[in-house]
Symmetry: none
Subunit: 213 residues, 4 copies
DNA sequence: CCATAAACGAGACGGTACGTCTTGTCTTTCT
DNA sequence: AGAAAGACAAGACGTACCGTCTCGTTTATGG
């Protein structure tokens, strides 16, 4: 079991033994990384700074992560998992009251709230920016951070199709982008203001189309 | 507008005299910056590298621009203007054949083509990433790079409203996001593949809505 | 002698039990240390490198030695003892044929040979250098490595005094330096070439003086 | 002249322009290096420490010197030149009163004094140790630091030969080692105490030989 | 003859320093 | 005065070792 990493490939490094990893250090690094990104911004957050703030040797970071972005991604994922654990036993499900519009509006309002939380905003902006330029990281972000949420949208949209509230020929993977992408772009690229009213409007437009009926 | 830097206030700097600026250096810097971003990527593009490649002193860059992103933005804007000048006398107008769906599909296909051009992709990704994290730069990007295109969409949508092809209560500034944002997000965040088929679908879904009629 | 470390005082360390010490590890460490000093030089010889090459944990080195120089000194002493054991039952005595000049010349020629042996040269240079800067180690080196040889010189010079070949008012502890120090300095500090002719000349000059008689 | 370095060989570095070198920084580096060696010892003197103490960037050290030892050597040479400049117009000549023994004894007593001066001792020990292990540096040390003094001895011994106080067949380059090497070894390797009496004895023994006349 | 305690190999840890790279400023020399 | 050139102070990078500190795993009695 200890050989699983050395087994397949890279002859370069001896692969650290993760069973001996210091949990305390890992948590301290997560906290330091998130705090620094919030306080001084991502570009001024340095690995040295994280190490110093976490009371950890630099090597301990380089041993387990490959880059600043990698640290931050795990820290952010961990933050998410923590929130979930605190949230309770049925943490993350898309509401289904039978009213698709209302359900999606509710979820989007929660998303808007999250986007305004500085503890969430700073690291997720940083990661998104990194992912724009670094495709590999970008794909990891999508898979680990976004996909779970997207799957919930897909599930809800499928249910709506079964209930006859969404046309059956619609691809839910594309349909969900009408709710998410405009909001994401406004937020990421500062192309426009974000509000409950705005997201409500998105849902209405998307469901009923731009063309007159 | 060129005086914003020399502005009355800041006593620190003597404000360079832009009339004596070397046009040759400026062009060389633009070309070096764009070439480096394409060749080695944005993070490995350094001011020193640009200066060296342009055969220019570092101070010449620092004198006229405030950051690497600033250089790249102007270089990219310049690139755009160049393309326009080459394109001819009626360069940039949204087609209006009377068929909104067809017109928008055509424009989006052109956008897809552009996204696949490496000369465009590298710098615009870099700028977008920078703008995600740096709000000021982000707003500048939106204003200088994106807004002109968005305005064309708004114009076309208004025309469509006048022609009764789009409901009059629709806000065109929001409606255009259904065409642009999903594509932008797939491209920027690598959340999905990009194709003509995809953008065509976007237009159809957006115009007629997800709900059955 | 083995108890000097466990000595009553320092409460810090539990003092390792030297009776349970692994002989195999000790020898492996000696060999690794000497080999590395020869192969990569003293400054690039690291404790980690010695441990790795010896197939030994770092702590096994830190348990028994206080520094890299300490390891090397013991390894070198051990090397000397090994040579002696191999040399036979009457290993180390200063020749006394009655001809002081011839005897000393012979011993110095052997010293010259030794100085040219790379297996001897690398570690002894390293130790000498360390001893120059670290007085405590220097004194240990003198006591353990040099003094035995010096005593043989002193013995031979005393015999020469008894035989009337050396003036009785001469201090043998100083006299021996005329034979040893010039050679040592040429070797250590690269101040001049070393040859049998040179050491022969030293003996002649030293015995008969520089001034005309 | 500025091209002498780039001229012959190594294609690696662009060779800094020594005409633009900061004299202030150089002096500050010399002072910091010497002070640190005296205060904390050579092994604990680090390039970072020198840079910090001198108020200088690390690169300024790496630009002009190749190693810690190199810095220290130049600093020490500079110290020597400074002393000479302060000493006056006829700074460095071997005394020649006609009495060789007295002259050499006087010079050796001055050497003993110098060896006891901590400002001299720390750096010269460090350099000597470095030179023992690093032949190239060792040869530079000999050539730049020791040779001038040795030449004075040679000159004085030649004069003594002319005056009939030293046998004409004696090689002065070897003879001088009888005065210098024993003292150097005692000092460097801590093989024995150093005193005026000791150096006086060396001179007497060397001039008249160990053997009875 | 096994229990137990020490030494052992391995290597993660908090640190320090390395030598390199880049930043943004400053200075020199040329045009 | 702008520009090319590049030295400078500053400081982060990623690497290498330091010496300490666990971890299981031998190993070697001594109860």
């Amino acid at each position: 079991m200890a050989a699983q990493k050395s087994a397949q490939s890279a002859p370069g490094k001896p692969a650290p033994d993760s069973t001996r990893r210091s949990e305390k250090s890992r948590r301290a690094i997560y906290e330091a990384a998130l705090a620094l990104v919030v306080e001084v911004g991502y570009p001024k957050t340095t690995i040295e700074g994280i190490a110093a703030r976490a009371g950890v040797g630099k090597q301990t970071i380089y041993r387990w992560w490959s880059s600043k972005a990698d640290v931050l991604m795990e820290a952010f994922l961990d933050l998410g998992e923590q929130s979930l654990r605190e949230a309770g036993p049925v943490p993350y499900a898309f509401p289904d009251t039978g009213d698709l519009a209302a359900d999606v509006k509710g979820v989007l309002r929660a998303t808007v709230d999250q986007m305004r939380d500085p503890r969430f905003e700073a690291p997720s902006r940083a990661l998104a920016a990194e992912g724009v330029v670094n495709e590999q990281l970008g794909r990891e972000l999508v898979a680990k951070l976004m996909q779970p949420s997207l799957d919930l949208y897909i599930g809800r949209l499928r249910a709506a199709q079964d209930a006859g509230q969404v046309r059956p020929d619609i691809d839910p993977r594309i349909a969900l982008e009408f709710f998410i992408s405009p909001l994401a772009q406004r937020w990421l690229q500062h192309t426009g203001p974000i509000s409950y009213e705005y997201t409500d409007t998105l849902v209405d437009y998307a469901l009923h189309g731009l063309a007159p009926r």
